[in-house]
């Protein structure tokens, strides 16, 4: 069976002491912060959290928060009453709000968790930080590049805690994979491939046509960057991790070719991110074919990693034991048909190497869920947020990672919209990844 349970808490806890842990803690500072935060929290102290946006993703976070001992949901807020009612059913003690500004005015609330459509991420986050609240905002950071930068600047100015919902930063198999890449397990990184394939229209049922744009906000440019801001932003951080630098230019192509139902966003995209050393990272997404599912692949000259599967495939895998090779040889000599002439060309089809798991008890997920799945790091992320709310200390590196993955997604979208090569603009570089 491929699916195996993994005790992630033990993994995070053990990072500080396990072999190679010191390296990981220095290169992934948010893990260090999380590990130490666990020890600093006084017993029984709870983070008072308000949930702004109680749709499907908001409910997913609520269910995770209800399992976390240091979390207390004190308020829920949504402009759509059915969503608010479903949250009230599981959080009967939480105060209900229809306007997020009233939430921010409440002195009882320490932190807010924003799970709203993308176009309101920036205004609510910025208002929240300025109101003295700690903020957890779902990915992607914001709808525009300027909004991303404004969110980052406000975070730095206020000194408050800001988390962006990039759960892979807390997924043990990604952390382990990064350690292996940095240790040279797959040799020199020569390519990065991200893909996310689905076969559905990405629509949600609408009870009333007047609510179409509110409920299916992912399909309209005013509210969303489509596949880039909703899917690519999760995967593009892999390039930052593996390359430890930024791409210098980006090009891409996007179209609405299959789901011609009035949507404004692309239903298939193909983007290339070019790094200064010649390595390219690609992102491809089609939502009218799901055969290949989703994955992030790091290609090295000695091996390949598939991060979602948590597997490593060496270019020259370890040979089978001698006795098995001997038996196979005898079997081939006895039963194989002797060719009369060798083929002049053999198709170089994909390797059938089954690979090995990069760590024990890997939990994998196919990315088909748009809300979230167990074991993808989301629970760890909100748990870490609660700890940060209690101790009030921002987590180094976390916002910067999310910022660059959001900016890369938006630059990819810009390259497709404008049908041109987009160079990484200097004004959107922040003091991270060797950029002063």
């Amino acid at each position: 069976m491929d699916l195996k349970e993994l005790n992630r808490r033990e993994f995070i806890k053990s990072i500080g002491v396990a072999g190679g842990g010191a390296f990981l803690l220095s290169s992934l500072p948010w893990l260090q912060s999380f590990a130490s935060a666990r020890q600093e929290i006084p017993k029984g102290e709870k983070a008072k959290i308000a949930i702004i946006g109680t749709g499907s993703r908001g409910m997913y976070h609520i269910n995770n928060l209800l399992k976390i001992p240091n979390a207390e949901i004190v308020a829920i807020c949504d402009i759509y009453k059915p969503n608010l009612d479903q949250a009230a059913a599981v959080c009967p003690k939480a105060k209900k709000y229809f306007d997020y500004r009233e939430v921010l005015a409440s002195p009882d609330i320490q932190g807010i968790l924003i799970a709203c459509p993308l176009h309101v991420h920036a205004p609510i986050t910025i208002a929240g930080l300025k109101a003295g609240k700690h903020v957890f905002c779902e990915k992607s950071m914001a709808r525009t590049l300027d909004q991303c930068k404004e969110m980052y600047d406000t975070y730095k100015q206020t000194g408050k805690v800001l988390y962006i919902g990039q759960q892979r930063l807390f997924d043990p198999k990604f952390v382990k994979a990064l350690e292996m890449v940095r240790n040279g397990a797959i040799g020199e990184v020569v390519g990065l491939r991200n893909f996310w394939f689905r076969n559905n229209d990405w629509r949600r049922p609408v009870p009333n046509p007047s609510l179409e744009r509110q409920i299916n906000w992912r399909l309209y440019k005013e509210y969303s960057g489509g596949l880039m801001t909703e899917l690519a932003t999760h995967q593009l951080q892999m390039g930052t991790w593996a390359m430890n630098t930024l791409p210098d230019y980006i090009m891409g192509s996007g179209d609405t070719m299959y789901w011609k139902d009035g949507r404004e966003v692309y239903d298939n995209v193909n983007v290339i991110y070019h790094y200064p050393n010649g390595v390219k990272m690609t992102f491809e997404s089609i939502i009218s074919n799901k055969f290949y599912g989703m994955d992030e692949q790091i290609l090295g000259n000695k091996g390949t990693m598939e991060l979602e599967k948590g597997k490593i495939y060496m270019e020259d895998p370890k040979p089978a034991p001698g006795i098995q090779q001997l038996v196979n040889q005898i079997e081939h000599d006895v039963f194989d048909v002797i060719p009369v002439a060798g083929p002049s060309w053999v198709p170089e089809t994909a390797s059938e190497n089954k690979g090995e798991y990069i760590m024990d008890l890997v939990k994998k997920h196919d990315g088909a869920s748009s809300t979230g799945v167990t074991g993808d790091g989301s629970e760890e992320l909100v748990a870490a947020f609660c700890h940060s709310v209690i101790n009030g200390k921002p987590v180094p590196g976390l916002v910067e990672e999310a910022y660059y993955s959001s900016v890369l997604a938006l630059l990819g979208l810009q390259a497709m919209d404008e049908k041109r090569i987009v160079y990484f603009p200097e004004k959107y570089k922040i003091p991270y990844l060797n950029h002063a």
Partner: protein
């Protein structure tokens, strides 16, 4: 009616001896393959499962040959040779 089958001590010794020969051949194959394919020496014990499987396979082949000898050669050919001698 089911008959009791008696395995004499001599027969048991013979079978153990034949299986031992099969084991020796299989073990030699393992050593040979380690040398030829330049794999690790620890395969001498890690691949004992394969050695045992090959031993059983060889023992089975030896059994078939012996049964062939017993039923085909001794029952028919040997019998005819004896009959010819009598005449």
């Amino acid at each position: 009616m089911i008959k009791d089958i008696k395995l004499t001590a001599k027969r048991q010794r013979t079978e153990v001896f034949i299986f031992g020969i099969c084991m020796l051949i299989a073990f030699s194959m393992n050593v040979f393959s380690i040398l030829v394919y330049k794999t690790e020496w620890k395969e001498i014990y890690t691949q004992m499962g394969w050695v045992l499987a090959i031993s059983l396979f060889l023992y089975f082949i030896a059994l078939l040959l012996r049964l062939f000898y017993l039923f085909v050669f001794r029952k028919f050919i040997h019998k005819r040779l004896l009959e010819k001698k009598k005449h």
